[in-house]
């Protein structure tokens, strides 16, 4: 009841823009209308720092849902600005730039050094920075995550890699109790500027234990920030932002997205951790998604556009906290929400997002929020069964049609 009254009071006060101070996280990047592509970096303590004005990207949407084969060279042609690369290379570029910039940044994980990383994200870094900055750890996730957190307490900025997100379950205690809570329980004395990253999500028949979606398990941990990257552009930007952030950030990558190719700017840019990305503006329905499901949504959008619909697609990117500013503006415009996620139906990001939208934007909704998620089953190995576990474009099309009737 209080929430509804609060919302009502706010709505009468503001007109077009919802006051960002309303939300718990006191900062949000304000995307000025008509200026897609320019980005701000807003620090966690509220100061805006610098103004990195990247060249505005044309809306080149990558519509193929899964990894494309890596083509020949990634060098840029003289005619187009920027340079082309694959997502894992973008992550590496971001990591390398940050390691060059700040000697406190180090990487630790299994087979990240000499082997080059099991998904090649850290390839070439060990020869360049040495064994102490790019650490090959034994297979002891609980310990080395804890060690990373301990190092962060004194000022180092470790980037801990879980070879697969599922292995970080072994480190859950460290991530939850120490990483998330230490800043609070010490009364603000210790900061944990750590980045925990790794690939997760359902891949190509990797089996149940290697197809987990940890964002749903981590989302309740107070003190953590969760972000999910989905394109080379936002992968690099989010990696850099995560490393520069004073808060512990968990960066979710996806096993199937590592070979996506895109042209990214040559200039340095850092994205805002808490901001959502407008993938396709529209008017009929707001589709909220993140990570791999973004591509399934865009595939469905092709069909929907042919059928005459105009969906607005937002890649929420920030899984904790949600960018309710961007989402709210969208809901105000379209009045219909579809959430497409890869988490399981029970307790996933989608269910929290749904609750948040209902709490804040109830009066703007014309239809119940639909949430498409994976089934509540361990991911089976057989290819056909695995396909049915995850949301497919056809289901997205059907859901939008159902919403818009």
């Amino acid at each position: 009841m209080a929430a509804a009254l609060q919302t009502a009071a706010l709505l009468s006060a503001s007109h077009n823009l919802i006051d960002p101070q309303r939300f718990r996280v006191g900062l949000l990047a304000r995307s000025l209308p008509g200026r897609r592509g320019s980005i701000f970096v807003v620090r966690a303590d509220g100061r805006t720092s610098g103004f990195f004005n990247a060249k505005s990207r044309s809306g080149n949407l990558i519509t193929n849902a899964v990894a494309t084969k890596a083509d020949a060279s990634t060098s840029s042609t003289a005619s187009k600005p920027g340079h082309e690369l694959l997502l894992f290379e973008a992550l590496r570029e971001g990591l390398e730039e940050e390691m060059d910039r700040d000697p406190h940044v180090c990487v630790m994980g299994e087979d990240v050094g000499h082997y080059g990383g099991s998904y090649k994200v850290t390839k070439g870094l060990a020869p360049k920075y040495g064994d102490l900055r790019v650490l090959d750890t034994p297979i002891a996730e609980n310990s080395f995550t804890g060690m990373g957190i301990g190092a962060a307490m004194t000022g180092l900025r470790p980037v801990v890699e879980g070879m697969n997100m599922g292995f970080l379950l072994l480190a859950f205690n460290q991530i939850s109790n120490n990483c998330g809570m230490l800043h609070y329980t010490s009364g603000g004395q210790f900061k944990i500027p750590i980045v925990i990253r790794g690939p997760g999500g359902v891949g190509r028949q990797l089996g149940a234990e290697h197809s987990q979606r940890l964002e749903s398990y981590f989302q309740s941990i107070p003190g953590l920030q969760l972000v999910a990257c989905s394109t080379p552009y936002n992968a690099k930007g989010l990696m850099k932002a995560a490393i520069r952030s004073e808060n512990p950030v968990v960066l979710f990558e996806h096993v199937l997205l590592y070979n996506l190719k895109e042209r990214i700017p040559d200039e340095e840019y850092v994205l805002c951790l808490e901001e959502a990305e407008m993938v396709r503006p529209g008017g009929h329905v707001t589709i909220l998604t993140y990570s791999r499901m973004r591509y399934h949504v865009m595939q469905a959008v092709k069909t929907l556009v042919n059928k005459g619909y105009d969906p607005e697609v937002i890649d929420i990117r920030s899984l904790k906290p949600f960018d309710l500013y961007t989402i709210g503006n969208s809901v105000k415009k379209t009045h219909r929400v579809l959430i497409v996620e890869e988490c399981m139906r029970t307790g996933g990001i989608g269910s929290s997002l749904r609750a948040a939208i209902i709490d804040n934007f109830w009066d703007y909704l014309d239809a119940p929020i639909l949430c498409l998620s994976s089934q509540d089953v361990p991911t089976p190995y057989a290819g056909t069964l695995e396909e049915w576990t995850v949301v497919q474009p056809a289901q997205i099309v059907a859901a939008v049609e159902q919403l818009c009737e």
Partner: protein, 392 residues
């Protein structure tokens, strides 16, 4: 082949399905003269008296070892080509080179003893009585696979012969193995559990926790470290301060065994079983080697030289060792052994063909076996939204 058949018939080997492995017979009741073989190297022991280097065996046992190891080798190589033709997908960890551990272990124990291992489990499944068709069907995700196509390469299980899997998360199977031993002690079965893990997993904390508890409660568990010297891309000396994994138990005794010598493995496991039943946990370190990379997506040559791989293959290959033993003791001729290999190859090919014809799982299988329900119940998802499957 006829001469070998005459020799084997004297041992009255059971004629079971040819695609199942034959249990080796080791007693002299079969009327065969026992052969005594010396293991390649003596056992190195930690806080215990090592067993003798001299191992008793019989001709039929040696021939069975040869056949079974060739079967495993052939199976893994065929899985390699199936993976490359995209019939097997995801993760596939191959065991070739390490066959002696699986076979030697099986020769020392019964099906009532439990074995649990990590993801390099195809051959252990076979050794425990699994069939080739079930294995390939599971690898290809088909309905007739041992986990109905829902588990995949890393999740092979066989409950009725005490094979508890098949686990993807490194090291997680060791506490499970100690739990199996706890149940065995609880029910006073007189059986033991073997928890297999690799040199990479030896650095997991949960292993030491489980070991401490097992030693405290005298559980009949044997921890077997299959030390193939590489944890994916990291060599053992880069991951472990003390690569003497048999000593890592500290207060728990340990034995280091040449894991490429099947007779040494058999001797050590027999010894360990007797010890564990009386005294509690013991660690066995099997010094072995894998020819393939860590998995099919790892070439296996970026962190070790090809010379090393070919060197081990030439000097320590388990199948070649048994072949030399058989030939030097004149238990069979070279051409008879070649015939066995050809037979094995044909069996594997037949199994693959049969597995390829098995259909994919039915869509409703997506929701079965998530929970156990009583008969006649309708199964709902956790949100009670849809009926997923109705049990008969």
């Amino acid at each position: 082949m006829a001469a070998a058949a005459r020799r084997l018939s004297a041992a009255s080997l059971p004629l079971r399905h040819h695609h199942l492995l034959l249990r080796p017979f080791a007693s002299s009741a079969s009327g065969q003269p026992p052969i005594t073989v010396e293991t390649s190297v003596p056992f190195t022991a930690h806080k215990i008296e090592p067993p003798s280097r001299l191992v008793d065996t019989t001709p039929s046992e040696l021939l069975t070892f040869f056949r079974d190891m060739s079967m495993m080798r052939r199976m893994e190589i065929a899985a390699d080509s199936l993976y490359k033709s995209k019939l097997i997908r995801g993760f596939c960890h191959l065991y070739d080179g390490q066959e002696a551990v699986a076979i030697g272990l099986e020769a020392a124990i019964t099906k009532k003893d439990a074995i649990i291992t990590a993801y390099r489990d195809h051959c252990i499944f076979l050794a425990r009585g699994g069939s080739l068709v079930e294995s390939y069907a599971e690898l290809m995700g088909r309905r007739s696979g041992c986990s109905k196509g829902k588990g995949g390469s890393m999740h092979f299980y066989k409950k009725d012969s005490g094979f508890f899997g098949g686990h993807g998360i490194v090291g997680a199977q060791v506490p499970l193995g100690c739990g199996l031993a706890f149940a065995q002690k609880y029910t006073k079965e007189g059986t033991v559990s073997f928890a297999l893990y690799g040199d990479g997993a030896a650095n997991q904390g949960q292993l030491f926790e489980a070991l401490n508890i097992s030693a405290l409660w005298d559980l009949p568990v044997i921890l077997v470290c299959e030390n193939n010297h590489y944890g994916m891309g990291t060599a053992e000396w880069r991951a472990a301060k003390s690569p003497s994994y048999y000593k890592r138990g500290d207060y728990v005794p340990g034995l280091k065994v040449d894991g490429m010598d099947v007779l040494a493995v058999k001797q050590a496991c027999k010894f360990a079983k007797e010890y564990a039943l009386q005294n509690g946990p013991i660690i066995l370190e099997m010094d072995t080697y894998r020819y393939h990379g860590h998995s099919m997506s790892d070439p296996g040559s970026t962190y070790r030289t090809r010379d090393e791989i070919t060197g081990v293959r030439q000097e320590r290959d388990p199948i070649e060792r048994i072949r030399k033993l058989i030939l030097s003791n004149e238990l069979a001729t070279a051409s008879e052994l070649k015939d066995i290999e050809k037979e094995v190859r044909k069996e594997v090919d037949d199994a693959i063909a049969q597995a390829k014809e098995s259909p994919m799982p039915d869509p409703s299988e997506l929701f079965t076996n998530v929970y156990v329900k009583g008969f006649g119940a309708e199964v709902f998802g956790t949100d009670r939204k849809e009926v997923k499957a109705v049990l008969p």
